[in-house]
């Protein structure tokens, strides 16, 4: 056994694998423990053998960026080791994600809770951006929630570093509902602003408790965006008509955000509006967003330990980091392949939402935390 193998065996011994919790296209996730102190971890086993042209891209990306990014609001990669022909990533164990929380209708969000989640998201995102890493797949189920309430950005399978001038990046990234218009128009040269759009959509989703811009196809996604925010003019977004995949999709008038977000404060709408500006250069940066008055206004953001949590644990539920493969041919809204025993995200129109449930549950801005 040479030195490398010995070191690997040494490392492998540190972690104990328990039961399988989920399977994705390129990885299987196990629940595990650290041998020394029984700390819970998630072990993501990447199947290497199946791929003819080497290791899957997402796995490389994930390891590449998570090895370097260490922040309170970013999932931690604890260790990497190989077993037989497989590569194993040892990740922090996180029990729920923001999507589960949004979908759990028994939970009531206070404005302070939303503020707290947003602040944590922006903090994690700002950390990625300051290190010139674009996440490129922000959505509620990639925002994991730790047991102490801390929100952590996960799934760096689509992340990449900021491109050098003149280098093309792919525009087939970010789950459709959270994809900004410049990517839908096929721009190959973009920047950190793409992630901010996604966060804007998540912000809106937290307030509405239903996806804000659920387009069914890429074409429909553009239409959905323009229906909500108005068709951009050349003045709003100079040069967008010259983008590679530009197609006119009809004229929609701009409706004020206030019409949909009736209970939101002026500060909240101002921040939301700035995250959803068409012109990517004018879109607020993560750093500026953290300094937005919304976060300083009362109520103060909830302490993470007081945030609503999903109460009942379903043991069969696979972990979120399971999938992460770009599935270009999939017809569903996700870029990712859905894990086998996961419910697919259902599309619901706001009308159904209203008739089905009491309105008060959707958002409660009046109640103050005692």
């Amino acid at each position: 056994m040479d030195a490398v193998e010995k070191a690997n065996a040494e490392r492998q011994k540190r972690w104990a694998k328990d039961q399988k919790v989920g399977e994705g296209t390129y990885a299987v996730v196990y629940r595990g423990r650290e041998a020394v102190n029984q700390r819970k971890v998630a072990i993501k086993k990447i199947k290497v053998g199946q791929f003819k042209d080497g290791l899957d891209m997402s796995a490389i990306r994930e390891v590449k960026y998570l090895r370097e990014l260490h922040h309170q609001n970013i999932i931690e990669l604890l260790d990497v080791f190989s077993s037989k022909t497989n590569l194993n990533l040892v990740l922090e164990f996180l029990d729920s994600d923001l999507e589960m929380i949004i979908k759990d209708r028994t939970l009531v969000f206070l404005p302070a809770d939303i503020k707290s989640w947003m602040a944590m998201t922006f903090r994690g995102l700002e950390f990625c951006h300051r290190n010139f890493v674009l996440h490129r797949d922000l959505k509620p189920n990639n925002l994991l929630i730790a047991s102490d309430g801390q929100l952590k950005i996960a799934d760096f399978g689509l992340a990449r570093d900021f491109a050098d001038p003149g280098y093309k990046m792919t525009c087939q990234v970010i789950t459709r509902w959270y994809r900004p218009p410049e990517l839908l128009y096929g721009s190959r040269y973009y920047s950190t602003a793409v992630d901010v759009w996604s966060v804007g959509c998540i912000f809106a989703e937290l307030m509405l408790r239903t996806p804000y811009l659920p387009g069914e196809t890429d074409m429909d996604q553009l239409k959905t965006i323009f229906r909500a925010l108005g068709t951009p003019t050349e003045e709003d977004w100079p040069g967008h008509t010259k983008l590679p995949d530009y197609v006119p999709v009809g004229q929609f008038p701009r409706t004020p955000l206030r019409d949909l977000f009736t209970a939101a404060t002026a500060d909240a709408l101002n921040l939301l509006g700035k995250c959803l500006i068409y012109e990517p250069r004018k879109r607020i940066s993560a750093r500026d967003a953290l300094h937005h008055p919304y976060f300083f206004a009362l109520p103060y953001p909830s302490h993470p330990s007081k945030l609503p949590k999903v109460s009942t644990q379903t043991p069969s539920r696979p972990l979120e980091e399971v999938d992460g493969n770009v599935d270009m041919n999939a017809s569903g809204p996700g870029v990712k392949a859905a894990a086998p025993n996961r419910l697919k995200r259902k599309l619901t129109s706001p009308g159904d939402e209203l008739s089905g449930r009491p309105l008060a549950r959707r958002l409660d801005f009046t109640q103050k935390r005692v």
Partner: protein, 382 residues
Amino acid sequence: MSNRANVGGWLQGKTIRKGGVVSTNTHSGRSSTPQVQSTSTTVFGGGVKDVSGRTSEYFSMDDQCPVCKSDRYLNPKLRLLVSSCYHKMCESCIDRLFTLGPAPCPICQKVLRKLAFTPQTFEDLTVEKEVAVRRRIAKEFNKRREDFLDLRGYNDYLEEVEDITFNLINDIDVAQTEERIQAHKKENASLIEKNIQRDEQYAQALREQEEADRQEREQRALEARREEELQREEREKDRREIIDRLETSNTDAAKVIAKSRAEANKRSSARTTVDSVLKSNAQLLRSRAARSTTIPDVPHIPLQDDWYAYEDAYVLMNSYEDPYSEAVRKDRDGIMRAGGYRVDQAWERAVRSAVMGLDLLPLTEQGSFSNSCPADIVMAPV
């Protein structure tokens, strides 16, 4: 004669409202500060006395009544009281001047009533006045940070309160200021009431906590005393037993003593384990109580590290001589701009990467990294 018992009652923290009727049958065993002696038939209460009762009425050997010039040498029971216009005079002067109804103050001519005289707490009467004014204002202006939409509004409010307080302390526009107070009171009546209740609830919670702590302490003291008693009895019994045994048995005396000693030791060690169990129980209770108190929300702090403190390591120029990015900057088709790509971000990255390692200490001989790295990019521990 004086009703000293009442004075004692007052000093032990009975609330006697200014001008209120004082019941004369509060008998307390002893007066906590025997040097203050009242010669008046009226019991003077109020003023800014310490609620906890730790400080008593101000009293000095050099006291002299400014009105009748009588001093402690002439009248050992001299007690000076303070009027609502903050002038001092002795009890006999007060009795003499104000018994027949309101009369002008002999010093400033303000019309005073007998019951408006209060005991003195502070040596300096300006302090006395300031404390009284602040106490009164705090009762009426009790809004909190949560009652305002923004920090600005709260600060303005605090400014106004301070303004009013200052005016009252220094007798500036008193009538106008009083009007302002009344207006505020009328406007915010319900809020003030609510805040008073909130404060009371908080005080109540504190009192309960204190009470619980006290009971626990007492319980422990009792336990300890009982323990001691038990131990003493046991020792006594042991001794008697040894004597008995020595009397009756015919084994070696030293052996008998050693045997009973060992038994006693065993018993005492058993006791200490019981003790520690009791102690850990108490600790558990306390920690649980600490956890159950809610963690307060804290104001938003945008970034929680000092990353941007190091921005002075370089200055980013507006433009660089950069043939590499020329095509991008010319952007003939305008697609870079519309897609949001920014050359300046690429430049920033390059410059930042260039200066990033500058404050790192060079590798030492052992090849270990120093920990003074300001950058957040640190390789994962491998």
